[in-house]
């Protein structure tokens, strides 16, 4: 069970991520955002639910598909969009862009454009909180592709060995770019790999807020209590291509349509109306407010100055 206040927070977070991603897509198509943009549309339940269980001083590591994690961990929308647009007011002064955005003050240790690159970093952050004796936990988000990187296995072994307060959340969206799981991964359920390291592993419906919540709550509670790491595999699907502009030759329209039927936002909305006494009007109003927040964010980002080329050598080193 999830109390209604938190459910509404999760719902708003999912709506915000969805609206942000749709805006990011449009801005990318208009070439306002350059580089590459990896959209989280369809996977919102994972970031929104897991992060609703975290404190501001808990840490996360994120991925190239990281806008959702960033927003769910509490990032300001204007500064996030400004970073995607390469502006000085962005979280990383326009140095990071979509694939490397970080907000360390809110515990987001960064998106990571190397598949699996954030997994050992999360493990090390958990080592730090463990050595400091705080009860902070770390969540490492990564995709199914990352579960085949060496650092995934090395990190799970290390965290299990040292009982580190880290939760490994695998967002299994079915594809490593264009390669389906059946062609890349030796097991059908990535979560069974937890067994190799003697830690709990669970596979859950990643589009079901309640299922994600149950697994994440158990894992986070366990980590906070000093009982060690867990692996959660969230089965989900990305509606968009690997990146905005991907021709998607590796899947059918029918498959995408079928997954859209399982939209996590639609599902939670139905629950809120049917079982939590929320009216459609109230939820529509919330969606409008979210859209306005995205408008404000875009206005802020568009009006923000570009970084000064004279500052390009700043911060390579501390001195």
């Amino acid at each position: 069970m999830i109390e209604v206040v938190r459910l509404m927070r999760i719902y708003e977070s999912m709506l915000t991520i969805r609206a942000f991603e749709e805006r990011a897509k449009r801005l990318f198509e208009r070439a306002v955002v350059r580089g590459s943009v990896h959209l989280y549309i369809g996977e919102e339940a994972v970031a929104a639910t897991v992060c609703s269980l975290l404190r501001e001083d808990d840490y996360i590591t994120s991925t190239h598909r990281g806008h959702g994690h960033c927003i769910a961990k509490g990032a300001d929308l204007g500064r996030t969009l400004a970073e995607l647009m390469g502006r000085e007011s962005g979280y990383c002064r326009g140095r990071a862009g979509s694939m490397h955005i970080a907000d360390v003050t809110r515990g987001n240790l960064g998106a990571n454009a190397i598949v699996g690159g954030g997994i050992p970093i999360a493990t090390g952050a958990a080592l730090a909180t463990s050595l400091k004796g705080t009860d902070q936990v770390v969540v490492s988000f990564f995709g199914d592709g990352a579960a085949n990187q060496g650092v995934f296995h090395e990190s799970l072994n290390l965290a299990a060995l040292w009982k580190l307060p880290v939760v490994y959340v695998c967002e299994n969206n079915g594809f490593a770019i264009s390669v389906p799981l059946t062609q890349s991964t030796s097991v059908a359920d990535i979560a069974v790999r937890a067994g190799s390291y003697g830690i709990p592993g669970a596979t859950v419906d990643g589009n079901d807020v309640f299922a994600v919540n149950d697994a994440a709550l158990e894992a986070i509670t366990r980590a906070r209590a000093g009982a060690g790491p867990s692996l959660i595999e969230c089965r989900t699907y990305r509606w968009e291509g690997h990146w905005a502009g991907d021709p998607q030759v590796y899947r059918t329209r029918e498959e995408v349509r079928a997954w859209k039927e399982k939209c996590p936002i639609k599902r939670l909305r139905a629950y809120l109306v049917d079982h939590a006494g929320r009216s459609s009007e109230e939820l529509d109003l919330l969606a409008k407010r979210v859209e306005q927040m995205i408008d404000d964010a875009e206005r802020f980002a568009s009006q923000s100055p570009e970084p000064d080329p004279a500052s390009v050598m700043d911060d390579v080193f501390s001195r």
Binding site: Y59, T61, G90, Y91, C92, R93, G94, R95, A96, H100, A102, V104, T105, L109, G110, N112, I114, G117, I119, P120, I121, A122, T123, G124, A125, A126, L127, A128, T129, L131, K132, V138, G150, V151, E154, S155, N157, L158, L161, W162, D314, D315, V316, F317, S318
Partner: protein, 327 residues
């Protein structure tokens, strides 16, 4: 002052700094009970316990990555790589992550991580345990690189590395561990990065040498002095940052330059230094800047073969003599 071995100087600084700052911890393969394969962490487990002196699995990428994460979250990790050749296994975490984080996060995060280990020839460890790999770390911006050649420098530079806020690749040399020298007893003794040391003054040729090649350069200098050739031996001590001015000052005085390192010659640090000299001291040069480095083949096991690949004292003497004939 105390007379210490190079490895003892490192061990003592680790212990002194761990006493001073509880955020510092050491992790790596065999660093606890064994005290490191080369003894640089000997006794630390007994003094600081297993939380701060951590044996790790043989997982270099995860060890370095965990160091990056722990540093980001406020600790000051020191990661030992048993052989610097193993850095290649962890290269993503060193060069894609540690090196870039401060910059790409707009200066809003720091990675105070020291990655230390030894490299080079001297024990017959052959191709994958004898390489000199500093070039890779100098090429990609974002990590500092130190290469101490004496116990004193090892102590002073390591302390600076540990107290700094940037990732440092601290490259020791296996053949230097047993060498001895004076080290200041002051537990705050630190040497700044980016400050070269003139190991020997001379007026005829500037010889820039690093790490284990410094004693070789000095030995060659002794021989050459008997022929009346006075070479000036410049030890940069750190490659990032590099004390360009010290090198240029010396070259402007001597008008001749030779760069000597144990790493492969092609795209080695010598190429960078030679280029620096011709760009900024061309008018002072009496002849071409020469480079001496390992020949372009993997390091062979057999000692005679290994010696044929790595510059020997005679090679240095011959190269200096040739340099002197120019102009």
């Amino acid at each position: 002052m105390a007379d210490k071995k190079y490895s003892e100087a490192i061990r003592d600084v680790l212990a002194e700094e761990m006493r001073r700052d509880p955020r510092i911890f050491v992790m790596g393969e065999d660093v606890a009970e064994m005290g490191g394969v080369f003894g640089c962490t000997r006794g630390l487990l007994q003094e600081f316990g297993p939380r701060r002196v951590r044996n790790t699995p043989i997982s270099e990428a995860a060890i370095v990555g965990a160091g990056v994460g722990a540093a980001l979250a406020g600790m000051r990790p020191i990661v030992e790589l048993m052989y610097m050749d193993f850095a290649f296994i962890a290269m993503d975490q060193i060069l894609n992550q540690a090196a870039k984080i401060r910059y790409i996060y707009g200066g809003k995060a720091a990675v105070p991580l020291v990655i230390r280990g030894q490299q080079g020839v001297g024990r017959g460890n052959a191709a994958t345990h004898s390489q000199s790999v500093e070039t890779f770390f100098m090429h990609i911006p974002g990590v500092m690189v130190a290469m101490p050649s004496t116990p004193r420098d090892a102590a002073g530079l390591l302390r600076t590395a540990i107290r700094g806020s940037d990732p440092v690749v601290f490259i020791e040399h296996k053949a230097l561990y047993a060498t001895s020298g004076d080290v200041p007893s002051d537990s705050d003794f630190a040497l700044p990065f980016g400050l070269a040391e003139i190991r020997r003054e001379g007026k005829d040729v500037t010889l820039v040498a690093t790490s284990f090649m410094v004693p070789r350069a000095l030995a060659a200098a002794g021989k050459l002095a008997q022929e009346g050739i006075e070479i000036e031996v410049v030890d940069p001590r750190t490659l990032v940052p590099l004390d360009e001015e010290a090198i240029l000052r010396s070259v402007k005085k001597t008008g001749r330059a030779l760069v000597l390192h144990e790493a492969h010659r092609t795209c080695g640090v010598g190429a960078e230094i030679a280029s620096l000299i011709q760009e900024r001291a061309f008018r002072w040069l009496k002849g071409p800047v020469r480079r001496l480095g390992a020949r372009q083949c993997p390091l062979p096991f057999n000692l005679a073969l290994e010696n044929a690949v790595i510059p020997q004292e005679n090679d240095v003497v011959a190269a200096v003599q040739e340099t002197c004939r120019d102009g």
